[in-house]
């Protein structure tokens, strides 16, 4: 059974952006989640948080705008829009842990049906582990969205009964946005909210988690 090509990375980012409430304080993880910023319209009122110490972070800087003192968490130079605020690292993580951030969007290697996330370490013996702010974000934001392809390159599902990679956080993910479907996790069954270029039955055939049509 094959699943036809679904959403592109940009289309996935646009789909995530649709579900970010007006005026939310949001942290976008390094990598693909960063693309979500491109799909938040000017009227969204969304305030972006970057864990290295800034709220109302702006877009990537170009040309003369580049300032070595103004970087995002991916160490990319960004701009300072009106309404920006700076703070130190302990305050930045207190904002997360203290449940002040409304949404964070993370990439993942695996998400479990119960909402566990694994995104920092493959566990391979020669891999050098790096965690950054992922564990703090996973347990801190009020809602954790994951953005990932549903299947790994070898075809195995990344939405799994239990994560086999080392965990980043336990029971913290609420929604998973993939190229072929959007899922709600963390309940007794995984709810298929929406599909793209595939059917509920196709998903049920390929995933080893209890599914329910949303």
């Amino acid at each position: 059974m094959t699943i036809s090509a679904g959403l592109s990375k940009d289309e996935m980012a646009a789909r995530v952006a649709q579900d970010i409430p007006h005026g939310a304080y949001v942290n976008l993880g390094i990598g693909q989640p960063t693309l979500v910023a491109d799909h938040l319209d000017a009227g969204s009122g969304v305030v972006l948080h970057t864990e290295n110490g800034m709220l109302n972070m702006g877009r990537a800087a170009v040309g003369d705008e580049v300032d070595g003192d103004l970087l995002n968490a991916g160490k990319v130079p960004v701009v300072e829009p009106p309404g920006a605020a700076y703070f130190h690292s302990a305050d930045s993580f207190a904002m997360m842990r203290g449940s002040h951030l409304d949404v964070c969007v993370l990439g993942a290697f695996q998400v479990s049906a119960g909402g566990d996330i694994a995104n920092w370490h493959t566990g391979a013996p020669d891999a050098i582990p790096a965690v950054g702010g992922a564990m703090d974000l996973a347990i801190g934001a009020k809602q954790v969205f994951v953005m990932m392809t549903l299947f790994a390159k070898d075809g195995t599902p990344k939405l799994v009964p239990e994560c086999t990679y080392p965990l980043t956080g336990v029971g913290c993910v609420s929604r998973v946005y993939t190229d072929v479907a959007v899922f709600e996790v963390g309940g007794p069954e995984v709810v298929v909210v929406e599909t793209f270029g595939t059917s509920y039955d196709d998903l049920a055939a390929r995933l080893d988690v209890p599914l329910r049509q949303g």
Binding site: N52, G53, D69, N72, S89, I128, M135
Partner: protein
Amino acid sequence: MTARICDTVAEAVDGIADGSTVLVGGFGLAGMPVELIDGLIEQGATDLTVVSNNAGNGDTGLAALLAKGRVRKVICSFPRQSDSYVFDGLYREGKVELELVPQGNLAERMRAAGAGIGAFFCPTGVGTPLAEGKETREIDGRTYVLEYPIRGDVALVGAHASDRMGNVVYRKTARNFGPVMATAAATTIVQVRQVVEVGGLDPEKVVTPSIYVDRVVAV
């Protein structure tokens, strides 16, 4: 005692002992005390424990300190980067020890050290390998991990400007770990772009008050 304004980087890093725990500010190059790290390499202290968000990039700064074999242990959140080959090589050869700490715990453990907190219960990392072997407690239905402070013998901080008393201001996201590290070390050494006269900084904008600062050098 207010801060000593040093004429040279060598004077600023003088006396750092072998075996010291050195807190090094910066997130990427923003706030990285590059000249102080170069000064530490010149100064020669070895067998160091370095606490920093990253573990060096390219061949300069922390990477150069590591390459010279001066670092016994790195405590950081994100060692692996596209250009962290110096650390990667030493780690794979077993020549440097790594304590991986979630970024927020790294900041809060130093904040605790600076604020006189003996330890704290934190929800980050519960149920993950980074909390294995650590004491946990359930408080109001949620599980927390006991985390201990990280104290430095020395902090090396990169900031924007200071006055001659040692009050420090930062610029944009170069602030990051600087204000926390400044509180958490026995000796805090700050490099700035400019030292101004007392009264030259708006007291409302001072982020690190002089009480935390021991030495300042303009670079």
